[in-house]
Protein backbone atom coordinates (compact mmCIF):
# COMPACT_ATOMS: atom_id res chain seq x y z
CA UNK A 1 0.00 0.00 0.00
CA UNK A 2 1.58 3.25 -1.20
CA UNK A 3 -0.36 6.47 -0.57
CA UNK A 4 1.30 8.54 -3.28
CA UNK A 5 3.51 8.15 -6.36
CA UNK A 6 5.90 10.45 -4.44
CA UNK A 7 6.60 7.54 -2.07
CA UNK A 8 7.14 4.91 -4.76
CA UNK A 9 10.94 5.17 -4.53
CA UNK A 10 10.69 3.61 -1.06
CA UNK A 11 9.45 0.34 -2.56
CA UNK A 12 11.13 -2.35 -4.56
CA UNK A 13 8.65 -3.18 -7.32
CA UNK A 14 10.47 -6.29 -8.55
CA UNK A 15 8.49 -9.42 -7.84
CA UNK A 16 5.37 -7.41 -7.06
CA UNK A 17 1.99 -6.89 -8.63
CA UNK A 18 1.00 -3.23 -8.55
CA UNK A 19 -2.63 -2.18 -8.55
CA UNK A 20 -2.69 1.43 -9.75
CA UNK A 21 -5.77 3.36 -8.72
CA UNK A 22 -7.25 6.78 -9.34
CA UNK A 23 -10.89 6.38 -8.40
CA UNK A 24 -11.86 9.93 -9.37
CA UNK A 25 -11.63 9.34 -12.19
CA UNK A 26 -8.82 7.99 -14.38
CA UNK A 27 -8.84 4.30 -13.54
CA UNK A 28 -12.64 4.16 -13.20
CA UNK A 29 -12.84 5.67 -16.65
CA UNK A 30 -10.32 3.24 -18.15
CA UNK A 31 -12.24 0.29 -16.74
CA UNK A 32 -15.45 1.70 -18.21
CA UNK A 33 -13.78 2.23 -21.59
CA UNK A 34 -12.73 -1.42 -21.73
CA UNK A 35 -16.17 -2.54 -20.60
CA UNK A 36 -17.60 -0.60 -23.52
CA UNK A 37 -15.29 -2.19 -26.05
CA UNK A 38 -12.07 -0.16 -26.17
CA UNK A 39 -9.34 -2.42 -27.55
CA UNK A 40 -6.34 -0.89 -25.81
CA UNK A 41 -5.39 2.17 -23.78
CA UNK A 42 -2.14 4.11 -23.90
CA UNK A 43 -1.69 6.00 -20.60
CA UNK A 44 0.84 8.76 -21.18
CA UNK A 45 2.28 11.52 -19.00
CA UNK A 46 2.24 14.59 -21.25
CA UNK A 47 -0.40 16.39 -23.31
CA UNK A 48 1.75 16.64 -26.44
CA UNK A 49 2.67 12.97 -26.33
CA UNK A 50 -1.00 12.13 -26.02
CA UNK A 51 -2.02 14.32 -28.91
CA UNK A 52 0.52 12.57 -31.15
CA UNK A 53 -1.47 9.34 -30.85
CA UNK A 54 -4.25 10.88 -32.96
CA UNK A 55 -2.21 10.12 -36.06
CA UNK A 56 -2.06 6.44 -34.99
CA UNK A 57 -5.81 6.04 -35.31
CA UNK A 58 -6.38 6.53 -31.56
CA UNK A 59 -8.98 8.51 -29.73
CA UNK A 60 -7.17 11.02 -27.52
CA UNK A 61 -8.25 11.93 -24.01
CA UNK A 62 -6.84 14.50 -21.62
CA UNK A 63 -7.72 15.97 -18.26
CA UNK A 64 -5.95 18.74 -16.35
CA UNK A 65 -7.22 20.33 -13.12
CA UNK A 66 -10.34 18.20 -13.28
CA UNK A 67 -11.53 19.36 -16.72
CA UNK A 68 -11.12 18.18 -20.32
CA UNK A 69 -8.08 19.71 -21.98
CA UNK A 70 -8.72 21.55 -25.20
CA UNK A 71 -8.10 19.84 -28.53
CA UNK A 72 -8.73 16.27 -27.37
CA UNK A 73 -11.55 13.88 -28.27
CA UNK A 74 -12.42 13.00 -24.69
CA UNK A 75 -11.98 14.13 -21.10
CA UNK A 76 -11.93 12.05 -17.94
CA UNK A 77 -15.63 11.35 -17.36
CA UNK A 78 -16.62 7.68 -17.62
CA UNK A 79 -19.93 8.77 -19.17
CA UNK A 80 -18.12 9.98 -22.29
CA UNK A 81 -16.72 6.51 -22.98
CA UNK A 82 -19.93 5.02 -24.39
CA UNK A 83 -19.94 1.95 -26.67
CA UNK A 84 -20.81 4.26 -29.57
CA UNK A 85 -17.61 6.22 -28.98
CA UNK A 86 -15.04 3.64 -27.88
CA UNK A 87 -16.11 0.22 -29.15
CA UNK A 88 -13.31 -1.24 -31.28
CA UNK A 89 -11.12 1.80 -30.72
CA UNK A 90 -7.75 2.43 -29.08
CA UNK A 91 -7.51 5.34 -26.65
CA UNK A 92 -4.51 7.43 -25.57
CA UNK A 93 -5.10 9.21 -22.27
CA UNK A 94 -3.28 11.60 -19.97
CA UNK A 95 -4.62 12.79 -16.61
CA UNK A 96 -3.26 14.81 -13.68
CA UNK A 97 -2.64 11.88 -11.37
CA UNK A 98 -3.84 8.52 -12.63
CA UNK A 99 -1.67 7.98 -15.69
CA UNK A 100 1.34 9.01 -13.62
CA UNK A 101 0.67 6.29 -11.04
CA UNK A 102 0.48 3.69 -13.81
CA UNK A 103 3.62 4.76 -15.67
CA UNK A 104 5.76 5.14 -12.55
CA UNK A 105 4.87 1.54 -11.63
CA UNK A 106 6.19 -0.01 -14.85
CA UNK A 107 9.08 -1.73 -13.06
CA UNK A 108 6.67 -4.07 -11.30
CA UNK A 109 6.17 -7.65 -12.54
CA UNK A 110 2.52 -6.83 -13.21
CA UNK A 111 0.66 -3.53 -13.30
CA UNK A 112 -3.10 -3.81 -12.98
CA UNK A 113 -5.59 -0.97 -13.24
CA UNK A 114 -8.09 -1.06 -10.41
CA UNK A 115 -11.31 0.72 -9.51
CA UNK A 116 -14.35 -0.08 -7.42
CA UNK A 117 -16.05 -0.86 -10.73
CA UNK A 118 -13.80 -3.90 -11.32
CA UNK A 119 -12.79 -4.63 -7.72
CA UNK A 120 -13.71 -8.30 -7.69
CA UNK A 121 -11.93 -8.97 -11.00
CA UNK A 122 -8.78 -7.38 -9.53
CA UNK A 123 -9.02 -9.38 -6.32
CA UNK A 124 -9.54 -12.70 -8.11
CA UNK A 125 -6.58 -12.01 -10.38
CA UNK A 126 -4.31 -11.11 -7.45
CA UNK A 127 -5.23 -14.34 -5.68
CA UNK A 128 -4.34 -16.34 -8.77
CA UNK A 129 -1.08 -14.48 -9.40
CA UNK A 130 0.32 -15.16 -5.94
CA UNK A 131 2.74 -12.22 -6.12
CA UNK A 132 3.17 -9.70 -3.32
CA UNK A 133 0.76 -6.85 -3.93
CA UNK A 134 1.31 -3.09 -3.78
CA UNK A 135 -1.65 -0.77 -4.25
CA UNK A 136 -0.36 2.52 -5.66
CA UNK A 137 -2.73 5.40 -5.03
CA UNK A 138 -2.58 8.22 -7.55
CA UNK A 139 -3.48 10.75 -4.88
CA UNK A 140 -3.87 14.39 -5.78
CA UNK A 141 -0.69 16.01 -7.12
CA UNK A 142 1.39 13.81 -4.86
CA UNK A 143 -0.81 14.19 -1.80
CA UNK A 144 -2.78 11.52 -0.01
CA UNK A 145 -6.41 11.29 -0.96
CA UNK A 146 -9.27 9.50 0.67
CA UNK A 147 -11.06 7.84 -2.26
CA UNK A 148 -7.98 5.97 -3.50
CA UNK A 149 -7.19 4.98 0.09
CA UNK A 150 -10.68 3.55 0.50
CA UNK A 151 -10.17 1.48 -2.64
CA UNK A 152 -6.88 0.18 -1.24
CA UNK A 153 -8.75 -0.68 1.96
CA UNK A 154 -11.33 -2.59 -0.05
CA UNK A 155 -8.57 -4.62 -1.74
CA UNK A 156 -6.96 -5.32 1.64
CA UNK A 157 -10.30 -6.35 3.05
CA UNK A 158 -11.13 -8.77 0.24
CA UNK A 159 -7.62 -10.28 0.30
CA UNK A 160 -7.68 -10.79 4.08
CA UNK A 161 -7.10 -14.43 4.85
CA UNK A 162 -5.09 -15.00 1.65
CA UNK A 163 -2.40 -12.36 2.24
CA UNK A 164 -0.53 -10.87 5.19
CA UNK A 165 -0.40 -7.11 5.72
CA UNK A 166 3.08 -5.71 5.32
CA UNK A 167 2.65 -2.11 6.39
CA UNK A 168 0.66 0.31 8.49
CA UNK A 169 -0.75 2.04 5.44
CA UNK A 170 -2.57 -1.16 4.47
CA UNK A 171 -3.93 -1.51 7.99
CA UNK A 172 -5.08 2.12 8.11
CA UNK A 173 -6.78 1.91 4.74
CA UNK A 174 -8.66 -1.22 5.78
CA UNK A 175 -9.90 0.50 8.95
CA UNK A 176 -11.07 3.48 6.92
CA UNK A 177 -12.82 1.31 4.34
CA UNK A 178 -14.67 -0.70 6.95
CA UNK A 179 -15.85 2.51 8.57
CA UNK A 180 -16.91 4.04 5.26
CA UNK A 181 -18.28 1.16 3.21
CA UNK A 182 -21.93 1.40 4.20
CA UNK A 183 -22.01 4.96 2.86
CA UNK A 184 -18.95 5.74 0.76
CA UNK A 185 -20.40 8.89 -0.75
CA UNK A 186 -21.37 10.35 2.62
CA UNK A 187 -17.95 9.50 4.02
CA UNK A 188 -16.20 11.15 1.09
CA UNK A 189 -18.32 14.25 1.05
CA UNK A 190 -15.99 16.00 3.50
CA UNK A 191 -12.91 15.09 1.46
CA UNK A 192 -11.04 17.75 -0.44
CA UNK A 193 -10.99 16.13 -3.87
CA UNK A 194 -14.67 15.25 -3.81
CA UNK A 195 -15.38 18.83 -2.78
CA UNK A 196 -13.28 20.01 -5.70
CA UNK A 197 -15.11 17.72 -8.13
CA UNK A 198 -18.60 18.42 -6.82
CA UNK A 199 -17.83 22.03 -7.51
CA UNK A 200 -17.25 20.98 -11.11
CA UNK A 201 -20.75 19.52 -11.16
CA UNK A 202 -19.76 15.96 -11.77
CA UNK A 203 -21.67 14.50 -8.89
CA UNK A 204 -23.05 11.88 -11.25
CA UNK A 205 -19.49 10.73 -12.07
CA UNK A 206 -18.66 10.33 -8.39
CA UNK A 207 -21.70 8.17 -7.68
CA UNK A 208 -20.89 6.06 -10.71
CA UNK A 209 -17.23 5.55 -9.71
CA UNK A 210 -18.12 4.37 -6.20
CA UNK A 211 -20.16 1.39 -7.42
CA UNK A 212 -18.57 -1.99 -6.67
CA UNK A 213 -18.11 -4.91 -9.06
CA UNK A 214 -19.96 -3.55 -12.05
CA UNK A 215 -17.55 -4.68 -14.78
CA UNK A 216 -15.70 -7.93 -15.30
CA UNK A 217 -12.75 -6.13 -16.82
CA UNK A 218 -9.06 -6.35 -16.00
CA UNK A 219 -6.73 -3.83 -17.61
CA UNK A 220 -3.13 -5.06 -17.36
CA UNK A 221 0.02 -3.32 -18.58
CA UNK A 222 1.63 -5.08 -21.55
CA UNK A 223 4.86 -3.53 -22.79
CA UNK A 224 3.59 -0.05 -23.69
CA UNK A 225 -0.18 -0.20 -23.23
CA UNK A 226 -3.09 -1.51 -21.21
CA UNK A 227 -5.16 -4.40 -22.49
CA UNK A 228 -8.16 -6.10 -20.91
CA UNK A 229 -6.91 -9.62 -20.23
CA UNK A 230 -10.46 -10.84 -19.58
CA UNK A 231 -11.77 -9.66 -22.96
CA UNK A 232 -12.89 -12.33 -25.40
CA UNK A 233 -10.51 -12.55 -28.33
CA UNK A 234 -12.05 -11.30 -31.55
CA UNK A 235 -12.65 -14.23 -33.90
Amino acid sequence: MCFSPELLHLYNLKGKAVVAVDILRATSTMVTAFANGATQIFPVMELEECKAYASHNCLTAAEREGVKAEGFDLGNSPFSYTPEVVNGKAVAITTTNGTRAIRLSEQADEVIVGAFLNLEAVVQYLKKLGLDVLVVCAGWKGNFNLEDTLFAGAVVDRLAGSFELENDAALASQHLYLEAKSNLLGFLRRSSHVGRLEHLEIHKDIEFCLQHDVFDVLPVWKQDRLVDVLAQPVV
Copy 2:
Protein backbone atom coordinates in the same frame (compact mmCIF):
# COMPACT_ATOMS: atom_id res chain seq x y z
CA MET B 1 -1.13 16.87 7.93
CA CYS B 2 1.89 15.30 6.23
CA PHE B 3 2.32 11.52 6.55
CA SER B 4 6.04 11.44 5.86
CA PRO B 5 9.06 13.73 5.61
CA GLU B 6 9.32 12.41 2.03
CA LEU B 7 6.19 14.41 1.19
CA LEU B 8 7.31 17.67 2.84
CA HIS B 9 8.40 19.19 -0.49
CA LEU B 10 4.71 19.32 -1.47
CA TYR B 11 4.01 21.87 1.25
CA ASN B 12 4.91 25.51 1.63
CA LEU B 13 6.04 25.84 5.25
CA LYS B 14 6.15 29.64 5.28
CA GLY B 15 3.48 31.08 7.53
CA LYS B 16 2.83 27.70 9.12
CA ALA B 17 3.33 26.13 12.50
CA VAL B 18 4.71 22.60 12.18
CA VAL B 19 4.11 20.00 14.84
CA ALA B 20 6.79 17.35 14.40
CA VAL B 21 5.92 13.98 15.85
CA ASP B 22 7.60 10.63 16.32
CA ILE B 23 5.52 8.94 18.99
CA LEU B 24 7.73 5.83 19.17
CA ARG B 25 9.84 7.29 20.54
CA ALA B 26 11.88 10.39 19.67
CA THR B 27 9.42 13.18 20.39
CA SER B 28 7.91 11.38 23.40
CA THR B 29 11.43 11.07 24.76
CA MET B 30 12.27 14.73 24.13
CA VAL B 31 9.13 15.83 25.94
CA THR B 32 10.04 13.57 28.85
CA ALA B 33 13.57 14.94 28.93
CA PHE B 34 12.28 18.51 29.23
CA ALA B 35 9.76 17.46 31.88
CA ASN B 36 12.65 16.04 33.87
CA GLY B 37 14.71 19.21 33.66
CA ALA B 38 16.75 19.10 30.45
CA THR B 39 17.64 22.69 29.53
CA GLN B 40 17.84 22.33 25.75
CA ILE B 41 17.90 19.65 23.08
CA PHE B 42 19.90 19.63 19.86
CA PRO B 43 18.22 17.32 17.35
CA VAL B 44 20.80 16.38 14.71
CA MET B 45 20.72 14.15 11.64
CA GLU B 46 24.02 12.26 11.83
CA LEU B 47 25.77 10.13 14.43
CA GLU B 48 29.14 11.89 14.09
CA GLU B 49 27.61 15.34 14.37
CA CYS B 50 25.81 14.18 17.51
CA LYS B 51 28.94 12.75 19.07
CA ALA B 52 30.74 16.08 18.58
CA TYR B 53 28.35 17.70 21.06
CA ALA B 54 29.98 15.73 23.89
CA SER B 55 32.79 18.26 23.91
CA HIS B 56 30.21 21.06 24.41
CA ASN B 57 29.12 19.70 27.77
CA CYS B 58 26.12 17.91 26.30
CA LEU B 59 24.74 14.47 26.96
CA THR B 60 24.65 12.60 23.66
CA ALA B 61 21.85 10.29 22.60
CA ALA B 62 21.54 8.11 19.51
CA GLU B 63 19.20 5.47 18.19
CA ARG B 64 19.46 3.46 14.98
CA GLU B 65 17.17 0.58 14.00
CA GLY B 66 15.34 0.91 17.30
CA VAL B 67 18.36 0.40 19.57
CA LYS B 68 20.89 2.65 21.32
CA ALA B 69 23.93 3.32 19.13
CA GLU B 70 27.28 2.47 20.62
CA GLY B 71 29.41 5.17 22.23
CA PHE B 72 26.55 7.46 23.27
CA ASP B 73 25.30 8.36 26.75
CA LEU B 74 21.67 7.61 26.03
CA GLY B 75 19.36 5.81 23.61
CA ASN B 76 15.79 6.60 22.70
CA SER B 77 13.86 5.24 25.69
CA PRO B 78 12.02 7.89 27.73
CA PHE B 79 12.81 5.87 30.86
CA SER B 80 16.51 6.67 30.50
CA TYR B 81 15.86 10.40 30.73
CA THR B 82 15.34 10.53 34.49
CA PRO B 83 15.77 13.75 36.51
CA GLU B 84 19.00 12.29 37.93
CA VAL B 85 20.41 12.01 34.40
CA VAL B 86 19.06 15.05 32.55
CA ASN B 87 18.16 17.76 35.08
CA GLY B 88 20.07 20.94 34.23
CA LYS B 89 21.71 19.30 31.23
CA ALA B 90 21.67 19.90 27.48
CA VAL B 91 21.13 16.86 25.24
CA ALA B 92 22.16 16.26 21.64
CA ILE B 93 20.09 13.52 20.00
CA THR B 94 19.88 11.72 16.67
CA THR B 95 17.26 9.10 15.81
CA THR B 96 16.22 7.20 12.68
CA ASN B 97 13.11 9.22 11.95
CA GLY B 98 12.19 11.81 14.56
CA THR B 99 15.12 14.20 14.40
CA ARG B 100 14.82 14.17 10.62
CA ALA B 101 11.19 15.33 10.75
CA ILE B 102 12.19 18.22 13.01
CA ARG B 103 15.18 19.39 11.00
CA LEU B 104 13.43 19.15 7.62
CA SER B 105 10.70 21.44 9.00
CA GLU B 106 13.03 24.30 9.93
CA GLN B 107 11.61 26.57 7.20
CA ALA B 108 8.32 26.84 9.05
CA ASP B 109 7.47 29.90 11.15
CA GLU B 110 7.31 27.70 14.24
CA VAL B 111 8.39 24.12 14.82
CA ILE B 112 6.85 22.46 17.84
CA VAL B 113 7.65 19.01 19.15
CA GLY B 114 4.51 17.02 19.90
CA ALA B 115 3.64 13.75 21.59
CA PHE B 116 0.60 12.33 23.33
CA LEU B 117 2.45 13.17 26.55
CA ASN B 118 2.18 16.93 25.91
CA LEU B 119 -0.82 16.93 23.56
CA GLU B 120 -2.88 19.51 25.42
CA ALA B 121 0.07 21.91 25.75
CA VAL B 122 0.57 21.66 21.98
CA VAL B 123 -3.11 22.24 21.24
CA GLN B 124 -3.36 25.28 23.52
CA TYR B 125 -0.24 26.79 21.97
CA LEU B 126 -1.56 26.25 18.41
CA LYS B 127 -4.84 27.95 19.30
CA LYS B 128 -2.96 30.96 20.65
CA LEU B 129 -0.56 31.16 17.68
CA GLY B 130 -3.32 31.34 15.10
CA LEU B 131 -1.04 30.13 12.29
CA ASP B 132 -2.02 27.41 9.83
CA VAL B 133 -0.89 24.10 11.25
CA LEU B 134 0.92 21.21 9.60
CA VAL B 135 1.52 18.02 11.57
CA VAL B 136 4.64 16.33 10.18
CA CYS B 137 4.76 12.63 10.95
CA ALA B 138 8.23 11.13 11.19
CA GLY B 139 6.96 7.80 9.90
CA TRP B 140 9.32 4.87 9.56
CA LYS B 141 12.12 5.47 7.07
CA GLY B 142 9.86 7.61 4.95
CA ASN B 143 6.85 5.32 5.20
CA PHE B 144 3.50 6.05 6.74
CA ASN B 145 3.08 4.80 10.28
CA LEU B 146 0.02 4.42 12.39
CA GLU B 147 1.10 5.82 15.76
CA ASP B 148 2.17 9.21 14.37
CA THR B 149 -1.01 9.34 12.32
CA LEU B 150 -3.11 8.71 15.42
CA PHE B 151 -1.34 11.61 17.14
CA ALA B 152 -2.11 13.84 14.15
CA GLY B 153 -5.72 12.70 14.41
CA ALA B 154 -5.75 13.66 18.09
CA VAL B 155 -4.49 17.15 17.22
CA VAL B 156 -7.13 17.49 14.49
CA ASP B 157 -9.81 16.31 16.89
CA ARG B 158 -8.88 18.76 19.63
CA LEU B 159 -8.58 21.66 17.17
CA ALA B 160 -11.96 20.93 15.58
CA GLY B 161 -14.15 23.99 15.85
CA SER B 162 -11.17 26.36 15.89
CA PHE B 163 -9.59 25.29 12.57
CA GLU B 164 -10.74 24.06 9.17
CA LEU B 165 -9.35 20.86 7.68
CA GLU B 166 -7.29 21.48 4.58
CA ASN B 167 -6.62 17.97 3.32
CA ASP B 168 -7.80 14.39 3.24
CA ALA B 169 -4.89 13.22 5.34
CA ALA B 170 -6.16 15.28 8.27
CA LEU B 171 -9.63 13.87 7.81
CA ALA B 172 -8.35 10.28 7.61
CA SER B 173 -6.18 10.66 10.70
CA GLN B 174 -9.11 12.05 12.68
CA HIS B 175 -11.29 9.08 11.67
CA LEU B 176 -8.56 6.66 12.71
CA TYR B 177 -7.99 8.40 16.04
CA LEU B 178 -11.68 8.40 16.92
CA GLU B 179 -11.83 4.70 16.15
CA ALA B 180 -8.70 3.93 18.15
CA LYS B 181 -8.78 6.27 21.12
CA SER B 182 -10.59 4.03 23.60
CA ASN B 183 -7.81 1.45 23.23
CA LEU B 184 -4.78 2.90 21.46
CA LEU B 185 -2.49 0.06 22.43
CA GLY B 186 -4.89 -2.61 21.19
CA PHE B 187 -5.40 -0.71 17.95
CA LEU B 188 -1.65 -0.36 17.41
CA ARG B 189 -0.80 -3.93 18.25
CA ARG B 190 -1.28 -5.03 14.63
CA SER B 191 0.91 -2.18 13.33
CA SER B 192 4.30 -2.90 11.88
CA HIS B 193 6.38 -0.52 13.97
CA VAL B 194 4.80 -1.57 17.22
CA GLY B 195 5.45 -5.17 16.24
CA ARG B 196 9.07 -4.26 15.56
CA LEU B 197 9.42 -2.52 18.91
CA GLU B 198 7.61 -5.17 20.93
CA HIS B 199 10.12 -7.58 19.53
CA LEU B 200 12.80 -5.36 21.08
CA GLU B 201 11.09 -5.80 24.44
CA ILE B 202 10.17 -2.20 25.00
CA HIS B 203 6.52 -2.78 25.65
CA LYS B 204 6.81 -0.56 28.72
CA ASP B 205 8.01 2.34 26.53
CA ILE B 206 5.05 1.98 24.21
CA GLU B 207 2.51 2.08 27.03
CA PHE B 208 4.26 5.12 28.44
CA CYS B 209 4.31 6.99 25.11
CA LEU B 210 0.58 6.51 24.52
CA GLN B 211 -0.45 8.35 27.69
CA HIS B 212 -2.20 11.68 27.02
CA ASP B 213 -1.48 15.03 28.67
CA VAL B 214 1.06 13.93 31.23
CA PHE B 215 3.52 16.80 30.89
CA ASP B 216 2.98 20.54 30.59
CA VAL B 217 5.97 20.91 28.34
CA LEU B 218 6.32 22.61 24.96
CA PRO B 219 9.56 22.13 23.05
CA VAL B 220 9.88 24.79 20.35
CA TRP B 221 12.66 25.21 17.78
CA LYS B 222 14.76 28.33 18.43
CA GLN B 223 17.50 28.97 15.90
CA ASP B 224 19.52 25.75 16.32
CA ARG B 225 17.92 23.95 19.24
CA LEU B 226 14.75 23.02 21.07
CA VAL B 227 13.80 24.79 24.28
CA ASP B 228 10.78 24.30 26.50
CA VAL B 229 8.91 27.60 26.21
CA LEU B 230 6.73 26.70 29.19
CA ALA B 231 9.67 26.13 31.52
CA GLN B 232 10.07 28.53 34.41
CA PRO B 233 13.10 30.75 33.87
CA VAL B 234 15.92 29.97 36.27
CA VAL B 235 16.29 32.87 38.75
